[in-house]
Symmetry: C2
Subunit: 349 residues, 2 copies
């Protein structure tokens, strides 16, 4: 396959927030699409969407939907991925899956192209897109790991509600208005749709993203810990995470502490690595109050890094503030970039 070929592409979960972003990115990036198939649950089937100026009818996803599909971009939830990804592979499609279903499967590459695109070579039909909060952190840390080694990561996250889906966005909007108009707020979705209890997110902070595991960590925290080690190819890396949902719509921010494997590194050295890193934009100048924020990073493609500081007690310790649009680099964009990388390198098979 050469770069000039065109491909039959399917988007599963086409009507969701990430699915729609994927479609827009395929247009914007002039992805070599021969035919685009939009797939969804039975409920959303029949909807009309416009791709490159033409109407496309959303179809209900079935195992046979993937006949003649070259690239299938999955973003419809873990259980659907588990059921349909193997079927798509049987039909010869390469699946890029946006759920956590296959991420820790040792036969499935977990890829952020700027960080570990070589892992794509080993794919057996399914490739996993990492968790949103993981993607932006490893994108920022890879150049530092490469230059100086990293022995330890402690991260506290500041995550947008859109990571919990479009319903969570609506809940934040409704609660924000009700807070002023009614003085009360109803919570039905967050912190986790389907979990036992719900708390207001407007004018609040919820230290729970995804469900709790037996060890007291949330699944979001466990995902960040395990995925980071896998993507950075470093099983002995210490990673700790505390994940918090906050009342903003777009972009995750992260307060990241790292310990390098080398002494004597300066902030200017890290700045240098970050300035030259693919997909990373350094926005760090205390004198002019320059740092990234969730609002400034929204709708942007890059991972933004600011507030780089040396720890005052530990010569190998550094603090960073990492912000990126959770639906773009954190989901849709990274998915499309994986597909582009497969094509560019003839790794689609």
């Amino acid at each position: 396959m050469s770069q000039k070929e065109l491909y039959n592409v399917a988007i599963l979960g086409a009507t969701g927030a990430v699915g729609q972003k994927i479609m827009r990115l395929l247009e914007e990036k002039e992805f070599p699409v021969k035919q685009l198939k939009l797939l969804s649950s039975k409920r959303s089937a029949g909807k009309q969407m416009i791709f490159n100026g033409e109407n496309v009818t959303v179809e209900e996803a079935t195992p046979d939907s993937f006949k003649d599909i070259d690239i299938a971009l999955f973003s419809a939830g873990g259980s659907i991925s588990k059921k349909l990804a193997p079927e798509a592979v049987k039909h010869g499609a390469v699946v890029i899956d946006n759920t956590s279903a296959f991420r820790m499967d040792e036969n499935v590459p977990l890829v952020v192209p700027e960080v570990n695109k070589e892992d794509l070579k080993e794919h057996q039909g399914i490739i996993a897109n990492p968790n949103c909060s993981t993607i932006q952190m490893v994108a920022a840390l890879k150049p530092i790991q490469k230059a100086y080694g990293i022995e330890r990561i402690i991260v506290s996250t500041y995550q947008a509600v859109s990571g919990a889906g479009a319903q969570a966005n609506k809940e934040l909007e409704k609660q924000s208005k009700d807070f002023f108009e009614k003085g009360t707020m109803e919570a039905e979705i967050l912190p986790v749709k389907g979990d036992k209890k719900h708390y207001p997110i407007a004018f609040n902070a919820l230290p729970q993203i995804d469900v709790f595991q037996e060890n007291g960590y949330t699944f979001e925290e466990i995902k960040m810990i395990n995925e980071t080690k896998k993507i950075l190819h470093q099983t002995d890396l210490s990673v700790a995470a505390t994940c918090v949902r906050l009342p903003f719509f777009t972009s995750h921010a992260e307060s990241v502490y790292i310990e390098l494997a080398k002494d004597g590194v300066h902030v200017a050295d890290l700045w240098n690595e970050l300035r030259n890193a693919e997909g990373v934009l350094l926005e760090d100048d205390p004198a002019t109050q320059t740092y990234p924020t969730p609002l400034s990073a929204a709708e942007r493609e890059e991972v933004f890094v600011g507030r780089v500081r040396k720890d005052l007690d530990n010569d190998r310790g550094f603090h960073l503030w990492v912000v990126s649009d959770n639906l773009m680099k954190g989901a849709a964009l990274n998915t499309v970039q994986i597909a582009e990388t497969l094509i560019k390198n003839n790794w689609l098979k």
Copy 2:
């Protein structure tokens, strides 16, 4: 002086958010007030406030305002404290100062009564109330330090806008409404009133609280680092802080990582210490999604702790989520508790 005596009390900054809370707490706690003097800038002088059912006229603060005052509670900004606290002391008053003006002065006790009330014995007329984000952290960590020793703290904060004053609250409210009604937001106050640039706080996160120092840390971060060491009486304690302003009105939350001085400690051991700690309430049960949030802690007196977890890589490492009302324990309540402790122990002098 015995506990039955009554005292002439002055509140400087009486019309501000913290000043008003202090007055309410003096009422609620039946503080032994003989006469209450309310002091402010010239601008607010003349206002009427009600204390214990009686009208009190706010007076402009001058050096002579402190004649015959026993206890002066200062909450009107650092420069005013620097000017008027020594004058109040000259008149024989004991000043409890809510600003950063004297906190790191070695002759000034910096006190959270549950943590280091003995330091009050050494006062020379001025006692400093710590920074809001510091108070709640040391209140939660003191029982752990006492039982197991703490060698290191890394904290990322989630701080309410009310820490920046009543104007910041109004800014968050206006921006939140404008976001939906106009689609634009104007920023004039936050992150720091009087600093060069302003950014919207509604539906955003600002990694700047107080002004930047030359080393790239903000003054809020430096305050947390230095004050924590002073209050916990441990100059060799490693403390790192990243302070972030978020779009909620009340309560600061903190993601706190600590390293103990002992091996083999379990989560249950920390729970045990926290359950028995004065002023602390443990709210920690993942099975029932029980953890504190800014909204649940608002208007409450305690420091709430949840999400206590052992680090997955470091036997001495633990993570905690600490939440408290920044205007209550973080400011007004701690101020009043210092005054109560001085009286109870005959340390007023």
